[in-house]
């Protein structure tokens, strides 16, 4: 026990003596939240669309009015009236416009006669998400009452959808918080625990530890325990700052039980990743390889976890990976506890998976660790 505590204490002291690492471990996930939350918003806005009115009739004016309403209301598009079709198309190719609406000559006449009146819509489909948004916004605008003969309209009749959100209003950046906390855990697990073994090996320091009566489990458990403490603290700090920045103020929403359950999810997630790092890094001896592996592993664990995009929409092979990815369960549990006010019953499956994964990972990590040169 004394030996294990000595390893634990040594690691904590070394970590604290590197304040830049401490600061970066907290800052990086928070910056990720700020950048991703603001650049990759839920709904796209202010997409520039050029409108070329070659009709100049009352029908065209009606279309213009609806487009202006779209611009003023949900602000999906920004309408720029252009006189030359050639200029508009040039702008589309150059990426200045995301779409070009052409109201052809005779549009008002066709509309007045009750025959099919068509407008043209050119889209920059090199940017698929923006193109789809422009198309649906324009289609919605021109298919409203009074425009029933406009050709772009896709549905002539249908029930109006009125979405009812079952939880309080959650902004996009707030939905990223579980993912950001998991990212903090991942980074913590990368830079503590097994990473110290790699650094000791790189610096030639491990030899002196192997010369003492320390056992394999003294070393692994000591490092995992210090990594667990450091990472848990970092994750809670990141959770606090993420809540503050995104304005969700979790401390007002969470009960003590909810917070303790979140803490348990964080601890189990950390333990699993710490063990996994020992399996992967237990025999490496150069920090550069860890750097490359870190980026690689972050991609394969983070993105298929459902932190950014729902796992249900993944292709079958990726969905299969998501099922065995511990971060999937961490994100799911944290989201339920954070936004849905869920209790233990709702997250017990996630916690069971994380607990089993953690135990297996630590056992495998200890087995993989080589206590000889």
């Amino acid at each position: 026990m004394n030996r294990f505590k000595a390893i634990f204490e040594r690691d904590l002291r070394k970590f604290i003596r590197n304040p830049l690492v401490v600061a970066m471990s907290v800052l990086m996930p928070v910056i990720y939240l700020v950048i991703l939350g603001n650049s990759f918003q839920g709904e796209l806005k202010r997409l520039p669309v050029a409108v070329v009115d070659q009709d100049n009739g009352p029908g065209a004016e009606g279309v213009m009015e609806r487009l202006s309403a779209l611009e003023a209301g949900p602000r999906t598009v920004e309408v720029i009236k252009v006189s030359s079709q050639g200029f508009a198309m040039e702008g589309l190719r150059e990426g200045v416009f995301k779409g070009v609406v052409i109201i052809p000559p005779g549009f008002s006449r066709d509309l007045a006669r009750g025959s099919l009146a068509e407008i043209g819509l050119f889209l920059d489909n090199a940017e698929t998400i923006a193109a789809a948004t422009v198309q649906s916004a324009i289609a919605r605008a021109v298919s409203e009452p009074g425009m029933e003969f406009v050709g772009i309209r896709e549905e002539r009749a249908g029930a109006r959808l009125r979405p009812i959100e079952i939880y309080r209003k959650i902004d996009y950046d707030q939905t990223l918080i579980p993912g950001v906390v998991i990212m903090a855990i991942f980074l913590g697990a990368m830079t503590t625990g097994a990473f110290n073994i790699v650094m000791d090996r790189f610096l030639g320091v491990e030899e002196s530890y192997f010369l003492t009566p320390l056992t394999k489990s003294d070393i692994v458990v000591g490092l995992v325990a210090s990594g667990l403490l450091i990472t848990t603290i970092i994750a809670v700090v990141v959770l606090f700052f993420s809540s503050l920045i995104s304005g969700i103020y979790l401390w007002r929403l969470l009960t003590v039980d909810g917070f303790l359950l979140m803490l348990a999810v964080i601890v189990l997630s950390t333990l699993g990743l710490q063990g996994l790092m020992f399996v992967i890094m237990g025999r490496l001896n150069h920090p550069r390889i860890v750097g490359i592996l870190g980026g690689f592993m972050n991609v394969i664990f983070f993105f298929p976890s459902g932190a950014i995009y729902p796992t249900e929409s993944f292709p079958a092979w990726l969905k299969a990976f998501a099922v065995v990815n511990p971060e999937t369960y961490s994100v799911h549990a944290l989201r339920a506890l954070m936004f849905k006010g869920a209790g233990f019953g709702a997250v017990k499956g996630d916690m069971a998976f994380l607990a089993v994964f953690a135990v297996l990972a630590v056992i495998a990590g200890t087995a993989a660790f080589k206590r000889e040169l």
């Binding site: 505590k5 204490e9 003596r17 002196s208 010369l211 009566p213 320390l214 001896n285 000889e372 040169l373």
Partner: protein, 333 residues
């Protein structure tokens, strides 16, 4: 009872044989020097004796414990100062000593007393609270010697203890080792490729080359075993050179004498003692001795005699072309 015993110890890395049947018996209380060039197998032998690597075959016992079957016993009995500086730079000297003492299960009071005693002895008490990153190379080496002794081991093993140190720091380390040896009745095994270090510290010296022990004796015994003697050059005038040669040759410790113009080149045993006698003898014959030089026989001569060449440089370690050094060690071998 031997402190360290090995029998036919072999270590192979693929086709490379690092140790090729090493048999050694080091008595308790001895200071044993293992002399050899870089890459001769010294570190491999030390790593087997300290349980860091396993031998391919053969037997080794340290303090009576088998290095394969009784690793815990070996680790508790030895203190080791590895070749590389192995103290964490972001800890203080005091913290390192305390943490290592805890690895050996020492109690708080005992730790404090022993740490204080050792840090005073190695002259680091005033700097004990400073980060090791601020220490010089010599200070770090002294700290590592103290660290190796924190649990009062019966055997201290040092792998190239003064490599990379300036001559002054090297001398300080030698004096420290002398002091600890006398105080704690330690058995010391040290490897070195510095001749003067082996000569200064060791009771017995083994010369190791290409993984084999090629000679083993006291320093004096090794010197006696080789035909080379000290070489003295006497530049004389005012005397017939043939007579001078005859007079010098008659001295009991002189082997052979050659004449090069006005200089006598004399092969002699224990040249330093023979100088005054030979100079007096020549002066008695009215000769004028204008210059005396003496090249004493060294362990280097012994080494060259047994290995057929001077100390050579280590062969470069092979590493993976694709992955550099960032791979498990055995892949890079």
């Amino acid at each position: 009872m031997y402190a360290i015993e090995t029998e036919n110890l072999v270590k192979k890395y693929g086709r490379l044989t690092a140790l090729d049947g090493v048999t050694l018996n080091i008595p308790e209380g001895d200071c044993f020097g293992l002399l050899g060039p870089n890459g001769a197998g010294k570190t491999t032998l030390i790593r087997i004796l300290t349980t860091l690597i396993r031998p391919t075959s053969g037997m080794a016992k340290v303090a009576g414990f088998d290095v394969l079957k009784e690793k815990a016993g070996v680790r508790s009995a030895i203190g080791v100062v590895p070749q590389a500086m192995t103290s964490d730079l972001d800890l203080t000297g005091l913290e390192i000593m305390d943490i290592y003492a805890r690895f050996y299960g020492m109690g708080k009071k005992e730790r404090r007393e022993r740490t204080d005693e050792l840090l005073s002895m190695v002259g680091l008490r005033e700097r004990a609270g400073d980060l090791i990153a601020t220490y010089s190379g010599g200070m770090r080496r002294r700290l590592e010697i103290a660290r190796g002794l924190v649990h009062r081991p019966s055997i201290l093993i040092l792998d190239e203890p003064t490599i990379g140190l300036d001559p002054q720091s090297r001398r300080v380390v030698w004096e420290l080792l002398e002091k600890f040896r006398k105080g704690d009745n330690l058995t010391i095994l040290l490897t070195t490729h510095y001749m003067e270090e082996a000569e200064y510290l060791s009771d017995h010296v083994a010369i190791i080359d290409y993984g084999r022990i090629v000679a083993l004796d006291t320093v004096e015994g090794l010197k006696k075993a080789i035909p080379q003697k000290d070489t003295m050059e006497l530049t004389v005038s005012n005397i017939d050179m043939a007579k001078a040669r005859e007079a010098v040759s008659a001295h009991q410790s002189v082997g052979s004498v050659a004449v090069n113009e006005g200089t006598l080149i004399i092969s002699v045993d224990n040249g330093a003692n023979a100088i005054p006698e030979l100079v007096d003898k020549l002066r008695a014959m009215n000769a004028k001795v204008t210059r005396v030089t003496l090249k004493e026989q060294t362990l280097e001569d012994v080494f060259i005699h047994f290995t057929g060449r001077p100390i050579r440089e280590e062969e470069a370690r092979k590493v993976s072309f694709l992955l550099g050094a960032g791979v498990p060690r055995q892949w890079g071998k």
